[in-house]
C-alpha cells in the first residue's frame, strides 16, 4: 500500500495555475524525487504535502489517511529546508530537541534521542554550538537530525543540497541516501538538479508546468524518456524531427526533415505518417573517421571540447548541430577540426517520441 498518495492535486495562486492535476504514489521506505525546472510545481507539491498550503482540488493521503484540513503541526512530517531554517536563537541540541519538546517528550528521553540523532547524521559533540557557528554542511546535518528525531511519517527534502559547494554536495548525496536507507523512511526529495535526482532516487517524477510528465526509475527516465520535455531536461539529446515511414514488429523507420532514415525500436504502436521526434544521447554516438556503417552519417567536426574525463565533439550535419560525447581513452589526435567524420549509433539507443502537432 502506498505510504503517500497524491490524487489529482490542483493548486491555483491568484491567476497562476501551479498544479494541474498531480497524481503520485510512493511506497513505504521509497526515495522519490520531484525533478523539474523552477516554476514546475515541485515545491508547491512539497508544501501541500507538508500542509503549509491547502490544495484547491484532489486528495493527499498519508499512511492511508486523508490529510485535507489537518494543519501542518499535526501531520507529523519531517522537513529539511533549502536554507535549513535552523532556529538561530537555539543551540544545536535545542534545535534538534524542538520537535520532541512540542510533543512533550520527557527530558531524559529527549537527551537520549537527540544524542542518537546526532550520531545518525555523524555529528556528535556539537550540541552546545549555535547554528551560525557551524559550516553549511554541519547545519545541513543538524537540519536533517532535527527532521528525523521526531520519527516522522514522511521525510520531505526541499533542495537541501543546493547551498553546499560542489565537492561536499557529492559526498552528501551518498550520505543522505545512506542515512535514509538506515532509517528506512519514506522520502520526497525536491531538486532541479538532474544528476542529483539520477544518483539518489529510487524513482523520479519529472514535473513540468504543474504536471507530472513521467514517473520511473532513474534508468527508465534517462534511457526511455516518455516525452520530449523529459528527453531534453534529463541529460542531453540530439534531436531530429520527422515522420514514421513504416512500423513493423517493434522496429520503426523514421524519415527526418533532412531526409535521413533512422531506425528505432519502440513498443508503442506507430502508424506511417505519424509526426515524431528522434532523440539520441551524445554518449551513445560513436565517432569514426569515415562513414563505414549503415546507420552512420557523415558530418563535419567543428569543435572539440576537452572535459578531462570525456571529450565532446560538436559536429554539423546539414544545418543541424550534433553533439557526441566520447570517453577519454586512447589517442585523441584523430579528431581534426574541419575534417569529415562519421557519426553512428545502434538502433536500440534511438529514442522515439511523439512529435509536436
Amino acid at each position: 500500500m502506498a505510504d503517500l498518495q497524491l490524487t489529482d492535486i490542483r493548486k491555483i495562486f491568484d491567476t497562476f495555475v501551479a498544479l494541474r492535476g498531480v497524481s503520485l504514489e510512493i511506497a513505504r521506505g521509497e526515495f522519490v524525487t520531484l525533478l523539474g525546472p523552477s516554476g514546475c510545481g515541485k515545491t508547491t507539491t512539497l508544501n501541500l504535502i507538508a500542509g503549509f498550503i491547502e490544495a484547491d482540488g484532489g486528495e493527499i493521503m498519508i499512511g492511508g489517511r486523508p490529510v485535507t484540513g489537518i494543519p501542518s503541526h499535526k501531520r507529523n512530517l519531517g522537513m529539511v529546508f533549502q536554507n535549513y531554517a535552523l532556529f538561530p536563537h537555539l543551540t544545536v541540541f535545542d534545535n534538534i530537541a524542538f520537535g520532541l519538546k512540542m510533543r512533550r517528550v520527557e527530558r531524559a528521553e529527549i537527551a537520549r534521542r537527540v544524542d542518537r540523532a546526532l550520531a545518525l547524521v555523524r555529528m556528535p559533540g556539537l550540541e552546545r554550538r549555535y547554528p551560525k557557528q557551524l559550516s553549511g554542511g554541519q547545519q545541513q546535518r543538524v537540519a536533517l537530525a532535527r527532521a528525523l528525531v521526531i520519527e516522522p511519517a514522511i521525510l520531505l527534502l526541499d533542495e537541501p543540497l543546493s547551498n553546499l559547494d560542489a565537492k561536499l554536495r557529492e559526498e552528501m548525496r551518498v550520505e543522505l541516501r545512506e542515512i535514509q536507507r538506515e532509517v528506512g523512511i519514506t522520502t520526497v526529495f525536491v531538486t532541479h538538479d538532474q544528476e542529483e535526482a539520477l544518483v539518489m532516487s529510487d524513482r523520479i517524477a519529472v514535473m513540468n508546468c504543474g504536471m507530472v510528465e513521467q514517473v520511473g526509475t532513474p534508468a527508465e527516465i534517462y534511457e526511455r524518456p516518455a516525452t520530449n520535455f523529459v528527453a531534453q531536461f534529463v541529460g542531453e539529446s540530439n534531436c531530429f524531427r520527422g515522420h514514421v515511414e513504416e512500423s513493423r514488429e517493434g522496429v520503426v523507420v523514421v524519415k527526418t526533415e533532412e531526409g535521413l532514415i533512422i531506425r528505432a525500436r519502440s513498443d508503442r504502436a506507430w502508424r506511417p505518417g505519424d509526426r515524431v521526434q528522434v532523440a539520441i544521447r551524445p554518449e551513445k554516438i560513436q565517432v569514426g573517421e569515415s562513414p563505414n556503417r549503415p546507420a552512420a552519417i557523415a558530418a563535419v567536426l567543428e569543435r572539440v571540447l576537452y572535459l578531462g574525463a570525456s571529450v565532446r565533439c560538436l559536429a554539423r550535419f546539414h544545418q543541424r548541430k550534433l553533439i557526441a560525447s566520447l570517453p577519454n581513452v586512447g589517442p585523441l589526435a584523430r579528431l581534426t577540426v574541419g575534417a569529415e567524420i562519421s557519426l553512428g549509433w545502434s538502433e536500440e539507443d534511438v529514442i522515439l517520441l511523439p512529435g509536436d502537432a
Binding site: 507538508a50 500542509g51 503549509f52 494543519p71 501542518s72 503541526h73 499535526k74 501531520r75 507529523n76 512530517l77 519531517g78 522537513m79 529546508f81 536554507n83 531554517a85 535552523l86 532556529f87 538561530p88 536563537h89 524542538f98 520537535g99 512540542m102 510533543r103 549555535y130 532535527r146 527532521a147 521526531i150
Partner: protein
C-alpha cells in the same frame, strides 16, 4: 576605523583608492576620518562641552541674594537625596516611563505583528497611519488630550450625558493622564523598532516550527518572541529614554500636581534661578537612566536567548 581597510586591497579596491586620491588629493586612509569630522565637531561643540560645563556647575553653590557661588561641593546632590520631595519626583518619573514602556510594548506588538503579516501597499499605508501622529506638533497633540480628558472634556461630557457618571471624573493633572499622553507620542517608535526585528525573521522558521509540531501559540512563544527580542530591546530603550526625559506632555497634562524630573529642572532653572541645582537634577536623571538601560541590556543579553543580540 583604519582596520576596515584590508591589508592587501583587491585590484578593484586599489583602483578605487587611487581614484579617490587623484580626484581629491587626499590620502585614502584619511577619508573615513574626514567623513565623520563635521558631525563629530558639532557633537563635541554643541553637546559634549556644554554637558561638561553643566556637570561642573552642578557642584557650584547658590544663594538667592548673591547668585551662583563658584565653589565645588556635593551639596546639591545631598539636597536631592535627603529631601523626599525630590526623591518622590524621581520615583514618579521612572514609574511613568516604565509604565509607558510596558504599555507601548503591549499595544505596539500586535500592531507590529500585523504589519509584518500584511504585504506591499497595505503595509505602506498602515505604517504611514502609525507615523501620522508624529506629523502633528507635540503641543497640539497634547492639547488634544486636554479636550478629551478635561472636566468638560469629551469623556466627562459623554459620561454625564449618558447618565453613567454622576460627578465629573478628575482625569486631568493625574499620572494616568501623563502616561496616556506620553504613550500616544512614543508608541510609533516602539512599533517601528518591533517591526524591523520581525521583518528580519526568516519566514521558513515558522514553517519549520509548524512542521516540528508547534501550534500557532507555541510557535509565537518559542520562535517569534525570542527572535524579536532585539526589537523589544531597541523599542523599550528608545521609548524609556524619551519618556523619562519628556517635558512638554507631563507639563501640560500633569502640571504642578504630577511633577517629573524634567519639570523640576525647568522649575529650578527658570523659576528659582538655581542653575547649579537644576544641573544636579539633570545629571542625576541622566546617570540613573543610563544605568537602568545598561542593566536592562545586560539582563537580556545574559538571558536564555542572549545569542539573538550578537
Amino acid at each position: 576605523m583604519s582596520s576596515s581597510f584590508p591589508a592587501m586591497p583587491s585590484p578593484a579596491q586599489a583602483a578605487r583608492l587611487v581614484l579617490v586620491r587623484t580626484r581629491t588629493g587626499v590620502k585614502p586612509y584619511l577619508t573615513p576620518w574626514l567623513l565623520v569630522l563635521p558631525a563629530t565637531l558639532m557633537f563635541v561643540a554643541l553637546f559634549l562641552l556644554p554637558m561638561l560645563a553643566l556637570f561642573v556647575s552642578s557642584f557650584h553653590g547658590y544663594d538667592p541674594n548673591v547668585g551662583i557661588i563658584r565653589v565645588l561641593s556635593v551639596q546639591n546632590y545631598v539636597k536631592f537625596v535627603s529631601d523626599p520631595y525630590y526623591r518622590e519626583a524621581l520615583v514618579r518619573t521612572l514609574r511613568i516611563a516604565l509604565m509607558v514602556t510596558i504599555l507601548s510594548g503591549l499595544l505596539g506588538y500586535p500592531v507590529a505583528y500585523h504589519l509584518n503579516q500584511v504585504g506591499g501597499r497595505t503595509r505602506t499605508y498602515l505604517t504611514l497611519a502609525i507615523l501620522s501622529p508624529l506629523l502633528v506638533s507635540l503641543v497640539i497633540r497634547t492639547f488634544g488630550w486636554l479636550i478629551i480628558l478635561g472636566p468638560n472634556g469629551v469623556i466627562n461630557f459623554l459620561g454625564r450625558g449618558l447618565g453613567i457618571l454622576g460627578a465629573p471624573l478628575k482625569l486631568m493633572y493625574t499620572e494616568g493622564a501623563v502616561i496616556v499622553g506620553t504613550l500616544h507620542v512614543y508608541l510609533p517608535f516602539m512599533v517601528l523598532a518591533l517591526l524591523s526585528s520581525l521583518q528580519n525573521i526568516d519566514p521558513n522558521l515558522y514553517q519549520a516550527a509548524s512542521n516540528l509540531g508547534a501550534d500557532p501559540v507555541r510557535r509565537f512563544v518559542h520562535v517569534t518572541l525570542p527572535l524579536s527580542l532585539p526589537g523589544i530591546l531597541a523599542g523599550s530603550l528608545i521609548v524609556f529614554s524619551l519618556s523619562v526625559s519628556s517635558f512638554v506632555t507631563p507639563a501640560i497634562l500633569g502640571g504642578a500636581r504630577v511633577k517629573v524630573m524634567a519639570y523640576l529642572v525647568w522649575e529650578e532653572d527658570l523659576v528659582m534661578l538655581n542653575w547649579p541645582f537644576g544641573a544636579a537634577i539633570a545629571f542625576i536623571l541622566l546617570v540613573i537612566t543610563i544605568a537602568i538601560m545598561l542593566i536592562y541590556h545586560r539582563i537580556l543579553e545574559a538571558g536564555r536567548y542572549g545569542v539573538v543580540f550578537q
